[in-house]
């Protein structure tokens, strides 16, 4: 599997993401935000966490209009797989590839801790390594993870089983306890929790391993 990890000024989970993808067996290229083209023969683009462009204007707003993101939108529209974690999720909503927006946490505090997520669908390359309703422990670290979207968009997510993960105990005020959502073709996933920080026995949880393993497996068979 060939993966690209985007790097913006202020990205700080780009190397963790590359480590997690390589550990699962991917061939990873780091791609700078000013590049206009993604590498050829790519299977997956990962947009990492961090504070791209200092969160100026809104989280993910400036990164979402960067030259490389135009290529990511084309890539996704051609059926490419895109993963956005934390700031990457915020960027994906700003590009319009995923619905909704991430607002300031309801409690106004930056939250950095492990949380329990419930796997809501196994019908995606990202979640097929889990069992439905499985509880997994994955870290969060964000100030703006309060997911908000219109009633119609929420109904569409629910009807199409596009909610990938829900918080077991909602930490940030997100609508319907949503922690991660899929695009209509189920190939774009955005989530606030960090699976790339849960892949090694030295980390508090290794529950992120099946996430990357199933992605790799899916790529190997397509």
């Amino acid at each position: 599997m060939r993966a690209a990890v985007l790097v913006f000024p202020g990205s700080n989970c780009d190397r963790d993401m590359a480590v997690a993808l390589r550990k699962a067996g991917a061939d990873v290229t780091m791609v700078w935000h000013k590049d206009t083209d993604l590498p050829d023969g790519l299977d997956v683009v990962a947009i990492p966490g961090g504070f791209s462009f200092g969160d100026y204007l809104r989280c993910g707003a400036i990164a979402g209009r960067s030259p490389i993101c135009r290529s990511v939108i084309d890539f996704a529209n051609r059926g490419g797989f895109v993963l956005g974690v934390c700031n990457g999720f915020q960027i994906l909503t700003e590009t319009g590839l995923l619905p909704g927006a991430l607002m300031r946490n309801a409690g106004l505090k930056f939250i950095c801790k492990s949380v329990e997520l419930r796997v809501e669908t196994t019908e995606s390359a990202f979640t097929s390594g889990y069992a439905k309703d499985q509880l997994i422990s994955i870290p969060i670290a964000h100030h703006d993870g309060n997911y908000n979207l219109s009633r119609d968009d929420l109904a569409a997510l629910q009807d199409q089983q596009r909610i990938a993960f829900r918080y077991h105990d909602n930490p940030n005020g997100s609508v319907d306890d949503i922690a991660g959502v899929l695009s209509e073709n189920r190939r774009v996933l955005g989530m606030m929790p960090h699976p790339e920080r849960a892949v090694d026995p030295a980390q508090p949880s290794a529950d992120g391993q099946p996430f990357f393993a199933s992605l790799l497996e899916q790529m190997a068979t397509t």
Binding site: L57, R65, A101, G107
Partner: protein, 79 residues
């Protein structure tokens, strides 16, 4: 010519920051404040001389970048 853009959260979207400001004002003894909504003001210096063109350009800028119309509304003043 200048443009002043106001960006506010749409009515009905909970504004946790505005709520925190309201609580702080209450703590200072200002008990007359029933609600606070916090937004942004963005000032642009434009080299456009046609006010109508300036207005339509800035509206487009708001749609494309300055506001996230999923949760925010905006208004533009040209002067």
């Amino acid at each position: 010519m200048k443009a002043r853009v106001h960006v506010m959260l749409k009515p009905g979207v909970l504004d946790p920051q505005g709520e925190a400001v309201r609580h702080a004002l209450g703590a200072l003894g200002y008990n007359t404040v029933d609600g606070v909504r916090q937004g942004k003001v963005i000032e642009l210096d434009l080299n456009e001389t046609d006010p109508e063109k300036a207005k339509s350009d800035v509206d487009a800028m708001c749609e494309k970048l300055l506001a996230n119309t999923v949760i925010e509304s905006y208004s533009v003043e040209i002067s």
